[in-house]
């Protein structure tokens, strides 16, 4: 497999996002549709064979008292045009579900890849991107399966391990815990802007923000290709609950944690990629309400108030971006009342 991005990811004529109607996490089945599907299939109960499974970011099986195997699968349609970048985002996004459980060791990825005939030349670059991303997570590509498909998609089945007592779910948040987010939000408006290429609207989108659109997009790609492994390693010792921010957005993932931990969540601060709030307003994406879909977003972790110092030190030491974004309450549901919006530049 080719590993040189300059040679394999350089085909300017290919725009992956033109081959699909729904981009990145927009292709995800909605939360309520998924709940109905699982209920219809009778897949709502916990399995005795697993530590946790359906409803969590990944499944975990206790192999020995010292070792749990975490597995998950995630794939989606292109959110970026460059095949190499798409591979990197797809790998980071897939592995993120394992990292959200605190499983960061022995990371293997089985590639799931589908491409239309016109895009088969992009396969090597997508795989190279995935391989490089896995490399950066101390993981490996262990195999995979590739099919022809009218819509392109890529991702992987990830397995990773951790000590069973180190694992995290969305169920452990307690009132008064503090909430941290380890990447800024805004990937959906950042990438949406890049899809507006026709003369009719380019100026409207360009004029919406004082930052160059390609700068906003390149920062979004940089965040989407940042693995959550270092964040997970730094947080897992202190966190009471964790998930990663994906297609349901910060508010949606907060609702999942609130429901499963039987607590309330109050969001007070939203870090966003600089320039994306204005784009979100233009597109109606709801970024500043936490409703905008994210791709390969950060970890969202709850930490007891006594552990905020140590967890912040650990994240600082690991060089991981983080912001305190709210707290856990003894009420229910998610509140987001005039949060501060912090525009983050890389």
């Amino acid at each position: 497999m080719g590993r040189d991005a300059a040679t394999v990811g350089d085909d300017e004529t290919v725009r992956l996002t033109e081959y699909t109607e729904l981009h990145g996490c927009s292709c995800k089945v909605g939360q309520s549709d998924l709940d109905s599907l699982l209920a219809d299939a009778g897949l709502t109960g916990d399995s005795d064979a697993l530590l946790f499974g359906v409803g969590e970011d990944a499944a975990a099986r206790k192999l020995t008292d010292e070792l749990a195997l975490v597995s998950t699968v995630d794939f989606f349609t292109p959110i970026v045009d460059d095949p190499y970048d798409f591979g990197r985002v797809a790998a980071c996004n897939a592995a993120s579900d394992a990292f959200a459980t605190g499983a960061v060791e022995n990371v293997d990825c089985l590639v799931v890849l589908g491409l239309p005939r016109e895009l088969t030349d992009s396969a090597a670059a997508i795989l190279a991107g995935m391989a490089d991303a896995l490399d950066a997570m101390d993981g490996v590509i262990a195999g995979g399966h590739t099919i022809m498909s009218p819509w392109p998609f890529a991702g992987g089945a990830i397995s990773a391990t951790a000590r069973p007592d180190a694992l995290l779910t969305s169920q452990g948040a307690s009132p008064d815990d503090r909430l941290y987010l380890t990447k800024p939000l805004g990937t959906q408006p950042a990438m949406g802007a890049t899809r507006v290429t026709d003369e009719q609207f380019v100026e409207t989108v360009t004029d919406a923000t004082d930052r160059p659109l390609d700068r906003i997009a390149s920062e979004a790609v940089a965040w989407m290709t940042t693995p959550n492994r270092d964040a997970a390693l730094a947080c897992r010792e202190y966190a009471t609950a964790a998930t990663d921010i994906t297609g349901f957005g910060l508010a949606g993932q907060s609702r999942v944690v609130a429901d499963r931990s039987k607590v309330g969540i109050e969001l007070t601060h939203l870090p966003v990629i600089a320039g994306t709030p204005a784009l979100s307003t233009l597109f109606g994406y709801g970024l500043t309400d936490g409703e905008s879909a994210e791709t390969s977003g950060g970890l969202f972790v709850s930490v007891p108030p006594t552990a905020t110092g140590p967890v912040e030190s650990a994240l600082d030491d690991a060089g991981v971006f983080y912001r305190a974004v709210g707290r856990v309450t003894d009420e229910n549901g998610v509140t987001l009342d005039d949060p501060t919006i912090e525009e983050v530049r890389r």
Binding site: E21, H23, S26, G30, P189, G192, A193, R195, V196, Q200, F201, T204, V205, A208, T281, L282, F283, G284, Y285, G286, D289, E291
Partner: protein
Amino acid sequence: MPRVDVRGEICPRPALIVRQALSDLDAGETLVVRGDYPPAEENLRRMCTTHGIDVMTAETAVETDEFELELKVTEMASLSEA
């Protein structure tokens, strides 16, 4: 009543098309929008609320995901400044 059809359009184009059509209208006028992608409906509703456009009625056909919105420009509309 002016109409726009954003069926088959890919996000974020529906919001841009509707925004442009609305900017041609005066306060009190109504635009009818037909679409076929549920997240686009949410985005259009949000975009309108933010810009002082009333979303008056909606029809949705669950089987086809098609929707129709009536968007009324209010005195508070602020599309030109967006």
